[in-house]
Symmetry: D2
């Protein structure tokens, strides 16, 4: 993670402001000969797209993606495939209403990045949050759609598990529910509660925080680059870099602070297929920064958006006390659209570690049993 | 964060196994002409040093550091100063009892990195955890001692704020208490409770998790490299890369999921000195990945060590079911020694961002008021 | 230098194939508040643009650049300025005649990258050389136009100093001549000779190599990151990464192999302004990988293009012997258009080192006299 | 290449000054389970070791290397093997005669890095050149010894091909000669000429430049990371980063500027083994930045050392004109010891690209014939 590029072998560089002409990214290091079409990327983008329900911003952005490079049609098969060279993805901005911001362009929204961008750079594109806008996450989702195609057998899924005080009931968890409600909620009953709750928040001109959970199934054991490029360290960076995220945890996360060593240990037995089984997954699929072969489980907390209709005390760019009300069009619970973004970041980090592992260790079986056969 | 190096301009590369001849690090990119002696680094290392109370491992390691390069005596002043070239720090291992591990060398400790290292590399130095051992964190603390000298006016302090079920009472927080008890506990009363509690854990041959809080005061506003190298993203990576850490949060962290936008907003007023004041610090000193000038507050959860005397089910390297009891010498609460390590990581990340900011933006005043003067 | 990104603080990521929809780059890390317009970038691009004389490819590409992000209009001044966020630059391809290549798509051009791309990736966009095309260098020139604006007082200029057997006469060197002939030749007389010579080469369906020299005046002393990120090491990488370049030298370069230590020494005297003067510049402005304050002088050799009308023996993708004649539209001397590209690479490397130096050492005076004042 | 670390997956970080307590490096990213002993590394170091003939510095340094980490004894075989974790290598300095430098510590040697280090950092360890000393290259050679073990079938060899005006006769080239004379000269007859010539240089208190050639046989086709991390670009950086190097070329190098496209084309035919053959190697084994499978050939020019007995005009740290004579113990032709250093750098760059290629593309056959089988 550095500046506007992340990843080591699978590298994503993003660009673009909320109300500029376009945003996008360059995905470098993708293996060659992977089938890829704009439609596949669009599919993921559509999950993150604004304006799809009354629970997200009403800005209407088609978020139509164009592939500018790095993909070519294989003559033998007629299939579009990656060439191994940089894949540039472009999304034009369409529905900017920059004048919405003219009222507040000189006032800092409490809890918003406008203040710090201005302090850092002495200048910033205030329209819609500029570079600090969550629109940047469209680039992440697009990159993630490519990342998903790299590691055979891996599935990355996410769900909203808490909205304000209302957490899902894990006994009702059903992945199929996630696509059936506008909240990415795996608990049908809770989705109904959230619908009412969020209507209230929205009507009050307020906003609310949330927690997102991402689960990656099928991650091969052995991925991770200790000690500073640990899989969990880079997941933490990737997820914390998403707008409005204030906390990240792996497996039991903060709850592990309450556990004894005996309770926290994921005991092991040999399975019938000659491979070890874990009897629990407190670790969230990562030990010592390396994947165990269990599902990788990460969770992140999303703060409520700072763009609210309730007036707040602030100062302006000229050093005067002021009061601010943010009209614009905002998500009452930005955590919702954080779900596909979180999936994308996890997919990218895993793809990168897969390539890095293959680079250092090769493609040989990473399975250690029986050790004497080595 | 990548592999065994972290940082961009202030870069730390560490090496060494728990029971090898030595461990250490190379600190590259340090500004020149900063006074530096081994004694200063030793001072920080001594806080992390094992064997100082009955609450940490009884391994006796002096952790004496030698500076091998990058420091030279200025003739004019007689002072040892950094030269701007790589500073290599060496800590020899002294008290290895590798035979302690011979009983368990072929069995995987549930919850320990031995399994994943073996799966990844097909081979590993099992003695004392090898590279996965928390001894590696001595290198971080040594690097952190240098990092602390780079940003004028910054103080990085840490404290243990929870041990298992017992959290400190923030109304009793006293930084001076931290050095008066063996737990880095800022709450004198809680330290007493922990003493009894941890005696029980230790005697039961068990272990317990913890939460550490790090506060950096005096961080100048404007540090952070959006959007992937955000200050909080790199703090998250740095802290998550510490052994046994399972969760990281900034400011209100996971509690922000429960807040409304109005409650979460850190309102602002102009102060008497013509600078803006924040009326609260839910953000933990970071907005949009850039420091606000408020204290930077990070917290991380440390799981209980997996090395316990209570027998656990496991498998061995030959694919057989087994039972394991880890004798060795271990910390019943590794979170305690996580405090100086967390401080070091935060200090390194801030130093790196300070240099990066200076590189991109220069040393001019980052203060924006009044904007018309620009 | 790595993959499709180069630079550390001033970072350029490029993308795009010769006959794809577009090419471009993302410039990350640019300091904020630098005035920047597309017209300024266009000005540099126009120097490299094909089809401007009969001595370069007849492909007609306007190479019109669009700024997609990272620039915003300052309200106070009405000036477009960098914001410190990534600057994305887009150049659409217009005049692709891909069918020109259908004859040769299955045959490898001897001396062309088509073979190695195919071996590496098992697949490649053969149209016009795909990613290996010199069209990629338009992105470098665009980035270089930004880089030129970063270091105060630096001027980067280039010239063609040799075409095949014909070298310029340095006693006739006139920088003003460079823009007066289609060869970037600083020697008016030699330009005439080249005109005739290259007509002959072109009519013979052949091509010829060349040598380019780049001079950067006004480079402040102290830039360079020893020992692996030396200024000259990164100039060498940057210049060698340009298509068709086979050699790079700094200052006297290979001629230094013939010199004695006494002859090679750039002696010094104190100047009237209290600053040291060098009595010669064998070193090309760099000692120990760090700039001396003298002009930085680099030279690179460009091989003749492999795309010629003379038939050559080769093999095809199906493992059969074949003969190849490359029609397309090619430069008889690609070295000519290498001049603005070389300037751009040198400008980018210097800008990056300027920011890196400022990061590590700050903006203080780097001048050491008198040392006792420190 | 950046700062004091180079490489992406095979990464070398070096540290140490000429007259400090020790120098060394950390090699990160080495694949696991590669047999490795200190004796093997020592073998390479001994080639570079000073004081072995009257033609190199008389400083007596055993350059004894210790492996501090990253290697462990495999129990099954009793063999020391890499573990995949960082390999730290330490070489203690023994024969420092720092007082040799006290005469000249305040005067800048013309053509030496002392001036630029002082300008950059405002301070430097002047003893024996400090960090700028060629002693640093011992770390490179040590790292190179590890790199040589990574890519199956690759052999990297070097030779001195020119000393001042005297170039070897390629018709007499015999690799076996290289180890039979103190110059790494592949031409026995020229070695005799050099012996007399260099005696003269040495006795005159002067020094002389040289050219070194490195050949890597057996490099698999497909290595290289276009467009900025090209194999030749990184070789250029690696070789240019060696002390005193002023020029680098690949294959025909600067001579390619004189060639026509027809002459420069390496024509191809199908070989009896069904693989393509090249009929020449003007390209030096690299096209488009990617290896062709032919020998990789690189050459670099080494300037004469600036440390000579002949008096030169200079200035001192206090801004006064001065005259300097450098006594110390120096190599009359530093190019000689540049041979093992050049080999090491080439070996490291190839190893890194091998791992990077394996990461992106995998271990599958990179051979494209017949393409229809794909």
């Amino acid at each position: 993670m550095s500046f506007n590029t992340f990843g080591h072998l699978f590298r994503v560089t993003s660009f673009g402001e909320s109300h500029g002409p376009a945003l996008g990214c360059v995905v470098d290091g993708c293996p060659p000969r992977i089938p890829l079409t704009a439609a596949e990327i669009q599919n993921d983008l559509d999950k993150r797209r604004p304006g799809q329900s009354r629970y997200t911003t009403q800005r209407q952005e088609p978020d139509a993606v164009r592939i500018l490079s790095g993909v070519f049609t294989d003559e033998a098969t007629g299939q579009d495939m990656t060439t191994g060279t940089p894949i540039a993805l472009l999304i034009e901005n369409v529905d900017q209403r920059s004048k919405d911001y003219s009222d507040i362009k000189d006032k800092y929204r409490p809890g918003h990045a406008g203040y710090t961008y201005d302090v850092k750079y002495g200048f910033y594109d205030y329209r819609g949050g500029g570079r600090a806008s969550a629109r940047e996450t469209a680039a992440r989702v697009a990159a993630g759609a490519i990342a998903r195609k790299i590691v055979p057998g891996v599935t990355v899924r996410g769900a909203l598990v808490r909205m304000g005080p209302h957490a899902v009931d894990r006994s009702r968890w059903d992945w199929d529910e996630v696509s059936r409600n506008p909240f990415f909620c795996p608990d049908a009953k809770m989705a109904e509660i959230w619908a009412d709750y969020l209507d209230g928040v929205r009507k009050a001109g307020s906003s609310i925080g949330a927690v997102v959970e991402i689960v990656a199934d099928g991650v091969p054991p052995g991925l991770g680059a200790p000690v500073y490029g640990k899989l969990d360290a880079e997941l933490a960076a990737g997820l914390m870099s998403i707008n409005a995220v204030k906390g990240v945890e792996i497996g039991d996360g903060f709850a592990a602070a309450d556990l004894s060593g005996a309770d926290n240990a994921d005991e092991m037995r040999m399975g019938n297929d000659g491979k070890p089984l874990f009897l629990s997954n407190h670790a969230g699929g990562i030990l010592g920064g390396i994947s165990t072969g269990q599902p990788v489980v990460a969770r992140f907390a999303v703060k409520p958006t700072s763009s609210i209709l309730q007036p707040r005390k602030t100062v302006d760019r000229y050093g005067r006390d002021a009061e601010i009300v943010t009209k614009g069009r905002h998500d009452p619970c930005v955590g919702i659209r954080g779900v596909p973004v979180g999936e994308a970041m996890v997919a990218c980090v895993i793809a990168d570690h897969y390539l890095r592992h293959r680079g250092q260790v090769g493609e040989g079986p990473s399975w250690p049993f029986p050790m004497t056969d080595r």
